[in-house]
């Protein structure tokens, strides 16, 4: 940052020797990122873009076939629509629920009481556990008869569903599981909550505002920048759901009646089961556009509700 601002100021002047030297050092220090970005992000993205117009099969074939992949996707591939539906279902429920969940949790954990740091640690812990071990654990928790969740439900005379076996309940089960690890976002909110100026609450209290009103008119507006950040990143993350379905369904096949066949899982199958990499690249382009549009809409809507003090 420092380099760019100095360079702007001196645009018309010739750089002194020292400034030139500093600029080179600056570039050198950011070079790991630049090189990494070019090799691992921009390069593959451009390659995918080109590949999406070909019948690339990873090893022996890459011929230009125009828009054929996209045409096939929209008109012939029924699983494309199924997987898009599954993913949209997941995103629409998962993003708001985790946002609300983590805000509420952060507010609860922002109390001044003895031992609060222990609770904070407990709620944060799931965020550092990840991957296959957690999914296997949840498969046990969600087991229809002996699983902890249905056992607890049965105490209240509720007959729990068959979760991962019933296509109606597979996606809700996954969303429930993801709620367990809201600790990561909670930590962000907690840090922001502690930066909300105390005098705002004090004056509101003097004016006789109830605690709900204080939350609604002070806390919430003050943390909207972080909510905004959280919603954008978690939307992008939610569209990329893959691992959960890959691990929790029988050999990554998409679960009962393809109810867990998410967009990326279908893409993966096309790429590495059918070796139809060109088609998979075309799918990734569509996903890229969807996420891009959503992020753009989010950015446009932001001024209406995000409050920058």
């Amino acid at each position: 940052m420092a380099t760019t601002s100095t360079s702007k100021q001196n645009k018309k002047k010739r750089w002194t020797k020292k400034q030139k030297k500093d600029a080179w050092w600056g570039l050198l220090f950011v070079s790991p990122f630049i090189i990494g970005f070019l090799i691992f992000m921009l390069g593959p993205m451009l390659f995918s873009f080109i590949g999406s117009f070909t019948n690339y099969n990873l090893t022996s074939r890459m011929e230009f076939i125009g828009l054929a992949n996209f045409k096939r996707m929209f008109t012939q591939d029924e699983l494309f629509w199924k997987s898009l539906y599954n993913t949209a279902y997941y995103v629409i429920l998962n993003v708001p629920l985790t946002a609300v969940g983590s805000v509420l949790l952060a507010v609860l954990l922002n109390q001044r009481m003895r031992g609060i740091s222990i609770f904070r640690t407990i709620f944060y812990l799931p965020a550092i556990l990840s991957g296959v071990a957690v999914y296997v654990l949840w498969m046990q928790l969600l087991s229809p008869t002996s699983g902890l969740i249905n056992t607890v439900l049965s105490w209240f005379n509720i007959q729990g569903p068959a979760w991962l076996f019933d296509p109606v309940w597979t996606k809700p089960a996954l969303i429930l599981m993801k709620l367990w690890s809201v600790g990561g976002a909670m930590l962000l909110y907690l840090a922001t909550l502690q930066n909300v100026p105390k005098q705002l609450y004090e004056s509101a209290e003097i004016d006789g505002a109830s605690s709900f009103k204080r939350f609604y008119h002070i806390t919430l507006p003050m943390i909207t920048p972080i909510i905004f950040y959280d919603v954008i990143t978690s939307t992008i993350g939610a569209f990329q759901i893959f691992q959960e379905a890959y691990v929790m369904t029988d050999s990554g096949k998409g679960g009962p009646a393809n109810s867990l066949l998410f967009y990326n899982l279908h893409m993966w199958n096309k790429a590495f089961v059918a070796f139809d990499m060109g088609y998979a690249m075309a799918m990734s382009m569509i996903l890229f556009i969807i996420v891009l549009v959503l992020t753009f809409v989010n950015l446009k809507l932001a001024p209406r509700w995000v409050h920058y003090s």
């Binding site: 699983l79 393809n258 059918a274």
Partner: protein, 445 residues
């Protein structure tokens, strides 16, 4: 002082970065240099498999040691790759042009890889042989490695689906333990005799067809050994026989109830908690490899038998389904002739027998299985398994991935699930699947 420190620091960073980059760039090629020049004239082969522990790993390492000692031209180096990674890794290495020399691959996708130029054509080496190498193997296994009249792999091991049944339980309910069910009707009858019901709950389930076996196997069994595709690649999903098979499976599901089945299934454990060993089920249709499980976990005196899958009706045939693995030289492997040499060794009767003896795998080499069914180092149960496997392979169908519709399974399974959930009748579901898969074939034309 401060300035000098800075200088040294930056020099250090630059140097370490340069090293890092250099290391990244060279990582792949150092091995190869050793392979060519390191140990005289010897060719070093890298052999990848997913046998990482236990009996298979010991067996394969022993065999490689023997091979390395048997001649002084080739040195095989064994590399274990985890099951979940091995084929994606090899695909990446083939695409990058730096693959291993020999790899254990899935038998069902050989033609797919041959088509995509991921495997080395072995035909020229086979043609040089005096011996007809193809006659070593069961014919349906050999068919899987042929693509446009050339061979692209050598079959290594295989399997087949059979019935395991609890003989003590048979005796207990008055069934003849030496006379296992031979038709679907007999199977159903035996299953219901073996059921134990308390109130509305099943405490023991005689037999449920979809535990450890897919509806596709029952469909293939009913349709005289024709899978979802016939030999010429025509889609054969909604044939009357297959509709009847799915109806029969649905009937079994209705009898026990979907909840009962889901609940039992979720309880199934492995090891000693295995439902067949713990007595929750009386008969189980399963891969014959399940024998190793019984060997490890069943208590002494656990009395069971194996039988072929029953036929739909008398004369329709005890058709079964199998899979397996092959040895393949990835496309671009540097020493294909030596790779072939090693693969040939691995599929010879003696080596196949040795691997089978130690791992209890059903081998691709016919002679090896025939020797194993009377091998002095195996007990009666071992003989029974190899005898059964050898016989069953006569009516075992392998279903290679069709080139025109490599990812058809989701389409069919989705419809099968719809039928099992009661959303569609068997005929509706299979009609829909037939149409979807025909569309998919059309897309690939």
């Amino acid at each position: 002082m401060v300035k000098r420190n800075k200088k040294w620091l930056s020099l250090g960073i630059t140097a370490s970065m340069a090293l890092l980059l250099a290391a990244c760039g060279n990582g792949g090629s150092t091995n190869k240099d050793n392979a060519d020049g390191g140990s005289g004239d010897k060719v070093e082969l890298e052999f990848w498999s997913f046998w990482g522990s236990g009996m298979r790993r010991d067996a394969v390492e022993d065999i490689i040691k023997d091979f390395n000692k048997s001649q002084d031209h080739i040195e095989v180096k064994y590399v274990y790759q985890p099951w979940g990674d091995i084929w994606t890794k090899s695909l990446a290495s083939i695409a990058a042009g730096d693959p291993p020399d020999v790899i254990v691959q899935d038998i069902n996708s050989v033609q797919q890889r041959a088509d995509a130029k991921q495997a080395t054509n072995l035909q020229e080496y086979l043609d040089k042989e005096d011996e007809d190498i193809s006659s070593r193997f069961y014919p349906q296994l050999w068919d899987t490695v042929m693509y446009e009249d050339d061979a692209y792999a050598l079959p290594f091991n295989t399997d087949t689906q059979v019935l395991f049944y609890n003989k003590d339980m048979f005796e207990e309910v008055g069934l003849d333990p030496e006379n296992p069910p031979a038709t679907w009707d007999e199977l159903e009858e035996a299953a219901h005799k073996l059921d134990v019901k308390k109130g509305n709950n099943f405490e023991r389930i005689g037999f449920y067809p979809l535990w450890n076996l897919g509806a596709d196997v029952w469909a293939l069994n009913a349709d005289h050994g024709t899978s979802w595709f016939d030999k010429d690649g025509n889609v054969k999903i909604n044939t009357p026989e297959k509709v009847e098979a799915l109806d029969w499976v649905l009937k079994q599901q209705d009898y026990y109830g979907r909840d009962t089945i889901n609940n039992h299934e979720a309880e199934f454990g492995s090891g000693v908690a295995d439902p067949f060993i713990s007595g929750l089920v009386g008969i189980r249709a399963q891969n014959i490899n399940y024998y190793t499980n019984l060997l490890e976990n069943a208590p002494d005196g656990f009395n069971y038998g194996v039988a072929p899958l029953p036929e739909k009706e008398e004369g329709s045939g005890h058709w079964s389904w199998g899979g397996g693995f092959v040895l393949e030289a990835p496309y671009g492997a540097e020493h294909p002739e030596e790779s072939y040499e090693f693969m040939k060794y691995m599929t010879s009767p003696e080596v196949q027998e040795k691997f089978g003896l130690n791992s209890f795998d059903i081998m691709a080499n016919e002679e090896a299985n025939e020797n194993l069914k009377e091998h002095p180092d195996l007990d009666d149960k071992g003989h029974m398994i190899y005898d059964m496997a050898h016989k069953n392979l006569e009516q075992t169908v392998i279903t290679p991935i069709p080139l025109e519709a490599p990812d058809y399974t989701e389409l069919v399974n989705g419809q099968l699930d719809e039928a099992m959930l009661g959303n569609k009748s068997a005929k509706e579901a299979l009609d829909a699947a037939q149409k979807s898969v025909e569309d998919l074939v059309e897309q690939h034309k």
